[in-house]
Symmetry: C2
Amino acid sequence: MKTRKIEHIGIAVSDLNQAIAFYEEVLGLECYGIEEVADQKVRTAFFRIGDTKIELLESTDPEGPIGRFIEKRGPGIHHMAFAVDNVSEALKEAAGKGVRLIDESPRQGAEGLQIGFLHPKSTMGVLTELCGDE
Amino acid sequence: MKTRKIEHIGIAVSDLNQAIAFYEEVLGLECYGIEEVADQKVRTAFFRIGDTKIELLESTDPEGPIGRFIEKRGPGIHHMAFAVDNVSEALKEAAGKGVRLIDESPRQGAEGLQIGFLHPKSTMGVLTELCGDE
């Protein structure tokens, strides 16, 4: 597949407001949007940096994926997302190369993008997301 | 401070050659350099993507930082590095805002850059590196 850029880095945080303050006041970035993604049980905050973005993720439900991640490992970097032209085709290509998928087909993510996750068992421990317009 | 871009994402891997093959054959990236950083007890492989880079890190010593990270948490994303103009000044500015530092002053990192780390206790669990030419 052709990965054009890192679309975003997803970071699990315990307190979204505290984390926003750190990224703004210490690292000099600016939060341009806060969005709740009910499907993933998170509230997200986005920052642009260079040609990529940082997505802070606060859990809205201890049983959701970010709640469980923080319970197990503490806050920290949760996933890395690559921009591809066509998520559906990229998922099929990865599966054809023996990569285990979390999502067999794309679903709706934050910012209106189509997304699909590769399983960390197949990506050397890195939860890897593919993002695109279709 | 002014963070210009994400300079790289550092990923701890158990087997550098296997990881290079995944990033090349599945994600379509190209490894442009392999370098041993004796000071950090790692062998690194670099990939350009958009305006940033992925740095794979294989430990050369179980007692080194990557060896210990993998022993404790398994392979996965290890740190996030931001490009700044002056690492020394950025570290001082962060310390002045109450951020705990791993490096009080810059040291030599991979690719000839000056680097300094902020402590994850002050950065919500994300090991955060500042990189620059000075």
